[in-house]
Symmetry: C2
Subunit: 466 residues, 2 copies
């Protein structure tokens, strides 16, 4: 009944039933996503993808590539904006797993709203929240951190593949993202319950994304393709394309393929009680979230060092004691590109110390090749400690003068307990977007997205800051 | 090195290196696929999908939906022809696993040849063979039938998901099909080795298809989407979109996600030695291949019964002792649609006995609802026997007169050891295609596809029989 329950809940959701903290986070998610989709276009991936498919795109051009204002068909917009929004790895992350909730959903939803609108702000946000709740409840349902650790360790040799499949091989953003996008678009389409069930099923069979892509253009492609997959699922189901009505829980269905766990029902009963959107967090640094805590700590180390008059160039040793996922995901000693640097704890530590910041510039190809950065990376030594939370880190830097500065980060900036504030999010938007389209248009754009609830036609927001 | 080895081999493959039995099977695969793509359009799935995306399709319309002659962009053609070619479940199957090799590859390859050609027949067939070899070697590499059964049984409780994932939950046609399509299209594009590696990686992260879709339009959608996924992977890589160079064997890559086995290298060493295309088989009945043997047997039972003057309507009991996959995949006692009937051993047995054939008509919605068929289904009793091969069956029918007729099929018609002959394939093509576009055009079409090697522009074959 999981698929039917989810479909029924999503279709019944009204704007008035969504508590205001959830609305607040939804709006922040929208403008954070739009900022990333505009700023992220400076990465190669979205532009290359657009060039690759440009000769074949649709004739009905009523959706927009956000950065360029180029009009394209909705499938193309979903793909390219999805890629752009994740190209900098600067978007958002659910507190309890590694889902980046907004990219797959909003890339599909805005394209659909532009193409088939008008959709007002309330309906848009309601559909978006329905998609996020679907996506994140499902993500939690199959997320392996909830496993009994003892059992997991005991059978680790035999269970390696099963766990890795759900844990660290499949990119969960895209695995659940296509379903979230289908739910959100399906809600705007006003599908009935059986069609929504089929849309969920059609989205669920399109599993895109593996961790092997991390550090490459292929990673943000996962997000763009998930947006397209969810959109396609909804478009097919709208026309009554037949599919399993139990795509999630079915005997040969999604949950059984992507996980050994089967607590879909357990997670879904909290729909409308526990709002996953309120657990969305926004990235302060454009890189894998697991290394935000050591970056935060080492920026503090640098500050203290400068206050004490120590020369950063005399650092002899750096340590970071972190959650095991840091080494699992980012043990890349010599990243050669900015994209690879986003998945290198060594690079992240070096730039935090050398620049005192870790923004898009610090994860550029140029900085990845910078001689001083390259010289500092091998001095960084990382240890795994299961007692350290994934938002925490213990970092130290030792200097030629024999002094060591130590910092303990218990909740990194950008985490659920230490979130970016509205003014931080605004600054992040204006920096990314202003760099691309100028500060004036960026300010207009921020105001337009931040006031999305006032919009009678969300699809037109894109034109309001041209 | 698996990805690099495969890329290198595929790019180096020349027409002159392909032995003639492989060429022969490749040509048969082409016309069998084209026949299925034209005939399969009578199923609802391809037409619905086309309606659903029609408003959004490409402006550059130089590819064709085979049944309708409608010009569309290459992405749309790949999707719709892919869906159509598998909509009747009448296409082809590799001898050693359940891959339907042609659909994902040819749906992408013909669209590409039409859009970016001219491509002559030799180059087209060479690219197709490269794709099939890639696809099938990979399919065999992760196919679980090769597991050590004892090990599997012992850990079956804990390993259930891993095995099911590779075995009976993921639709392997699409899992490997996108890779085959990327290899074939990438070869026509003349990608260099690194770009071909990346194309393989980009195809590998797009895993479409679960067994939950069987019996629905969603199943042929897997094939169409796999064709699109492979095409997209090649288009992106052509423009130097970055991706892992080790997408297949990488630590967090394809083989680890879809299987516990890691004998990619073992399978790939036989590239160019053992030609998988020569192991392709063509379906005599439009339904899941596992039930072909009992159908074959019960058609023989009917024949014997009629010779003896027994009335088929006096059958009291039917038995089929089969390979365990028959019940695993087709234990559907009361299929309500033609599509569901394709995965019902009970329906298949009933129509074999009542009609003496099991063609597209016998798997229509009308026959699925036929009262006589529905009355006979519950009399069919199936038992699993691991000693019975998947191309074999022991079937019996008992009559009111107390007599029982028994038939043992050791190699069903359409299997590797008892293949459809050229004249059977021609008849299959003419029946399917003639029904749709008339016998005259069907004959022209058959001759055009069967003589593909003589073509200087394969993309134009489609117009030659209009």
């Amino acid at each position: 009944m999981a698929t039917k329950s989810l479909a029924t809940w999503a279709l019944a959701l009204n704007f008035t039933n969504i508590p205001s903290p959830a609305i607040d986070l939804a709006i922040k998610s929208v403008y954070n996503w739009a900022g990333c989709a505009i700023g992220g276009y400076s990465q190669p991936a979205p532009g290359i993808a657009f060039q690759a498919i440009q000769p074949y795109i649709g004739a009905q051009k009523n959706a927009t590539i956000l950065r360029t204002d180029i009009a394209v068909d909705l499938q193309t917009a979903a793909l390219i904006n999805g890629i752009a929004s994740h190209a900098d790895d600067y978007d958002d992350t659910h507190r309890d797993n590694s889902i980046h909730p907004s990219g797959p959903i909003l890339s599909a939803l805005l394209a659909f709203a532009q193409s088939r609108g008008p959709v007002n702000g309330h309906d848009f946000i309601t559909a978006f929240v329905a998609g996020v709740e679907a996506e994140c409840k499902l993500g939690i349902a199959v997320w392996p951190e909830h496993y009994n650790v003892g059992w997991r360790e005991f059978f680790s040799i035999y269970l390696l593949s099963v766990h890795i499949a759900a844990d660290s091989l499949i990119d969960i953003t895209s695995t659940v993202g296509s379903i979230g996008a289908a739910v959100a678009v399906g809600k705007l389409m006003k599908l009935n319950v059986p069609k929504m069930q089929k849309a969920i099923g059609l989205a669920a069979v399109q599993v895109t994304g593996m961790h092997e892509s991390f550090g490459y253009d292929a990673k943000p492609f996962h997000v763009g393709r998930a947006a397209q997959n969810g959109l396609m699922a909804a478009l097919l189901s709208e026309r009554n394309f037949s599919a399993s009505m139990e795509g999630l829980e079915g005997e040969h269905g999604w949950a059984k393929v992507v996980s050994t766990r089967e607590n879909l029902v357990l997670e879904l009963v909290s729909l409308g009680e526990v709002w996953e959107i309120t657990r969305n967090t926004f990235k302060p640094f454009p890189c894998d979230r697991v290394i935000h805590a050591p970056i935060d700590g080492l920026i503090q180390v640098r500050k203290q060092a400068l206050e004490k008059g120590f020369d950063i160039n005399t650092i002899t040793n750096v340590t970071a004691r972190c959650h095991p996922r840091v080494l699992f995901l980012t043990d890349t000693p010599n990243p050669e590109t900015g994209l690879q640097a986003k998945f290198s704890i060594y690079h992240a530590a070096a730039v935090a110390l050398l620049y005192g910041e870790a923004g898009p510039v610090q994860f550029s190809d140029e900085v990845a090749q910078n001689a001083t950065v390259k010289a500092l990376r091998p001095k960084v030594h990382v240890t795994s400690d299961t007692a350290v939370g994934s938002y925490a880190a213990f970092v130290t830097a030792t200097f030629e003068n024999g002094q060591t500065i130590e910092v303990h980060v218990s909740n990194t900036i950008g985490s659920y307990k230490n979130p970016l504030k509205t003014k931080d999010l605004q600054a992040k938007f204006l920096e990314q977007v202003g760099r691309e389209i100028g500060p004036e248009r960026a300010t207009k754009a921020f105001n337009a997205y931040a006031n999305i609830l006032d919009s009678t036609d969300v699809g037109k927001i894109v034109k309001s800051y041209q």
